[in-house]
């Protein structure tokens, strides 16, 4: 039985054998394993794990290598919201249950398949990109690169613009650990959107990597949405690397799970690149969610805009820790970061920590805004005085709060499904809002 907490080199080789991988990929896993073995397990004294105690994570659950059958019920949030798809990969537990691509897309050279098949059939592409965006520098990232349980690969060649999105669903149906890995590559001036959807009610630990390569002038829109059941631990790196004048637009939706620790990063390594990071989260009873983001301005004239908004109710905790780093050589950058939290009931707690690391003085703009607050009682009274009951008034305010982010989501249907999920969450939670003055 393979377990993440005592992962060995033999385990890694066995995983590679199980999937029947080419030799180069097995070697990659081995190199990653060495990095993994050299890294300490995170503990709560580490700066990066100050807000989420790694002891909460279930790393003893056995690693699942097989793809379970596709569940009959369509789960997930965003993937179901769209109509026609250019391609779809369905990861169920430890493998890929299905991968399809539309004929039209194939004709344009688009590839949508599972990662192991891609390693055989598109070796040059996978070889040159796998692990370049998210490597083996941190413990969980290294664990994924060494022991990933298959995953998805999507490639959109130069100048191809897809009108339909590509959906990648990650479902946890069996108890255990899985390490899915998603590699997305957009060639120069390509344009495509991707819906990565996470769902499942199992007692599962998901250690995931989604790495996105955006070549010069390309545009990638990517949604990472999770609505896990209450027994899922999720540790993920969702990272984009942007070429010159490229555009990476990420949206993170965190609704479920027990312990969730995501790193939504964007690396602006070439001049003129843009990164937009949007986030919506809703935490309730028993949940802990941390979003630890890095926006890295590593070239001149790069721009970025981050906006994360979350609401919390019940005994729950959310942390947003967002760093904007502007390197010394990255001149004339513009960046902005906003995180706002709405506390709906007494026990919920949010931490909002913006960090600016600005290493040069030639900055066009660098702003940050951060807040943790409760529902405004003046606004509540105004709504209630118009006959709107307190619970419904609170819902209106919660939607209004999220509107600032959801209004910016340009992918059709996505804002609507997110707001519908938020509504479901608000309705399911405790209705007595925080208010000292009331009986």
């Amino acid at each position: 039985m393979v377990r993440i907490k005592d992962l060995s080199e033999e385990d890694v080789l066995a995983i590679s054998d199980f999937y029947g991988e080419p030799e180069w990929l097995r070697d990659r896993r081995q190199v990653a394993f060495k990095a993994f073995a050299d890294l300490e397990w995170p503990n709560s004294r580490d700066e990066e794990w100050r807000y989420t105690n790694p002891a909460r994570l279930h790393l003893e659950r056995p690693v699942l290598l097989e793809a379970a059958a596709i569940p009959a019920r369509q789960e997930g949030i965003v993937a179901g919201a769209v109509g026609a798809l250019a391609g779809e990969v369905r990861i169920v537990d430890g493998g890929v249950a299905q991968a399809v691509v539309a004929d039209e897309a194939t004709a344009q050279g688009v590839v949508v398949t599972d990662l192991v098949t891609a390693a055989h059939e598109h070796a040059a592409l996978v070889q040159s990109h796998l692990g370049t965006v998210v490597g083996a520098d941190a413990k969980f990232e290294a664990a994924n690169l060494a022991a990933f349980t298959n995953g998805a690969f999507a490639y959109v060649p130069a100048d191809v613009e897809l009108t339909e999105p590509i959906a990648i669903t990650v479902q946890a149906t069996g108890d255990g650990s899985v390490l899915p890995r998603v590699l997305i590559v957009l060639g120069p001036h390509a344009k495509a959107s991707f819906y990565v959807d996470h769902s499942g009610d199992a007692q599962a630990t998901v250690i995931e990597v989604v790495e996105v390569v955006v070549a010069e002038g390309a545009t990638a829109r990517i949604v990472n949405a999770q609505d896990w059941g209450p027994d899922v631990d999720h540790i993920a790196a969702h990272t984009g690397v942007v070429g010159s004048n490229g555009d990476y637009r990420g949206l993170e939706v965190n609704l479920g799970g027990r312990t969730v620790y995501v790193r939504p990063d964007v690396r602006l390594d070439h001049p003129g690149g843009n990164g937009e990071l949007l986030g919506v989260y809703f935490c309730d009873e028993g949940q802990q969610v941390e979003m630890r983001s890095l926006v890295h301005h590593n070239a001149s004239h790069t721009t970025s805009d981050l906006m994360y908004k979350g609401a919390l109710q019940g005994d729950s905790r959310a942390t947003f820790y967002g760093t904007i780093r502007i390197e010394e050589h990255a001149k004339a950058t513009a960046s902005d970061e906003t995180n706002r939290n709405l506390i709906l009931t007494d026990k919920a707690r949010a931490d909002s920590i913006p960090v600016l690391e600005i290493l040069n003085s030639d900055v066009v703009r660098c702003g940050h805004h951060s807040s943790v607050g409760q529902v405004d009682e003046l606004q509540m009274f105004y709504l209630e005085s118009r006959g709107i009951p307190r619970e419904e008034a609170a819902r209106l305010l919660v939607f209004g709060f999220f509107g600032e982010v959801t209004d910016r989501i340009q992918l059709p249907g996505v804002a609507e499904v997110i707001l519908a999920e938020v509504e479901r969450e608000v309705r399911s939670g405790p209705t007595n809002l925080m208010d000292q003055r009331r009986r």
Binding site: D376, L397, F399
Partner: protein, 246 residues
């Protein structure tokens, strides 16, 4: 029929007594002007009537059609036909005017008004108040000028069709043209089914809206009541001589 009856009302805010035994009766079909200097407790009365949680009723009672509403939350009071046009309407970012109004109307009527009917009625009232269609795209009071906020309060009153409307300084901060539009809006709604409590600091709005009764409030009490002629007296002499005679 007596719609609103206030008896010996005392109200505290932050532990400080603001209303000190106030009596007032407003009947359907009548318009009452309540006047008084700044700080006399006019807004406190308005909030207490509507059930704002920060305004603590420590004695006396507020009755609507004979029922004591002291324990009811604000939304229940609205459903009983009370409406408060606020002196300082609250901005609510992210909540669209249309969505807000529809939710409010469906909540007070306790049944859903068909969208088409809602929109028709909304457009009619908006044009009467000389409000641009573009308001429909905006969020509740967000970025509204003072005059726009006051118009929107009257628009809500028109849509919600209350039985008793408390209008707290709806005239303040308006230029003459806006004041006329707002006053006409209020006059259109007056009738046998509506009682109005028009709270004002100045007599200006009373040139456009003739009250049936005028009350003067000083230091948390009604100190004098009379007909429209009382307003004229106030215009001449101000509140000072009243305070002395009271």
């Amino acid at each position: 029929m007596t719609e609103l009856e206030i008896k010996g009302l005392t109200v505290e805010v932050d532990g400080k007594q603001i209303l000190k035994g106030l009596d007032l009766v407003v009947t359907k079909g009548e318009t009452h002007a309540l006047m008084g200097p700044n700080g006399s407790g006019k807004s406190t009365l308005a909030y207490a009537i509507m059930g704002h949680p920060a305004y603590n009723v420590t004695d006396g009672s507020i009755l609507v059609q004979g029922t004591d509403i002291g324990e009811l939350p604000p939304d229940e009071r609205a459903k009983m036909g009370l409406f408060l046009a606020m002196q300082y309407p609250t901005e609510i970012p992210g909540v669209s005017l249309t969505n807000f109004l529809r939710t409010a109307i469906n909540a007070t009527r306790e049944e859903d008004l068909p969208v088409r009917q809602f929109m028709t009625s909304l457009r009619e009232h908006m044009s009467a108040l000389q409000m641009d269609e573009r308001f429909l795209q905006r969020n509740v009071n967000e970025g509204f000028s003072g005059g726009e906020k006051k118009r929107f309060e009257i628009l809500q009153m028109a849509m919600l069709q209350p039985q008793i409307a408390v209008l707290d300084e709806t005239d303040s901060g308006l230029d003459v043209d806006a004041l006329k539009v707002v006053a006409e809006g209020i006059n259109r709604l007056r009738g046998p089914q509506l009682g109005v409590l028009l709270i004002t600091h100045y007599t200006r709005i009373l040139r456009y809206i003739t009250p049936d009764h005028v009350h003067v409030m000083v230091d948390g009490r009604v100190v004098q009541s009379g007909g429209p002629e009382l307003a004229a007296e106030l215009e001449e002499g101000g509140y000072e001589h009243l305070r002395v005679s009271a």
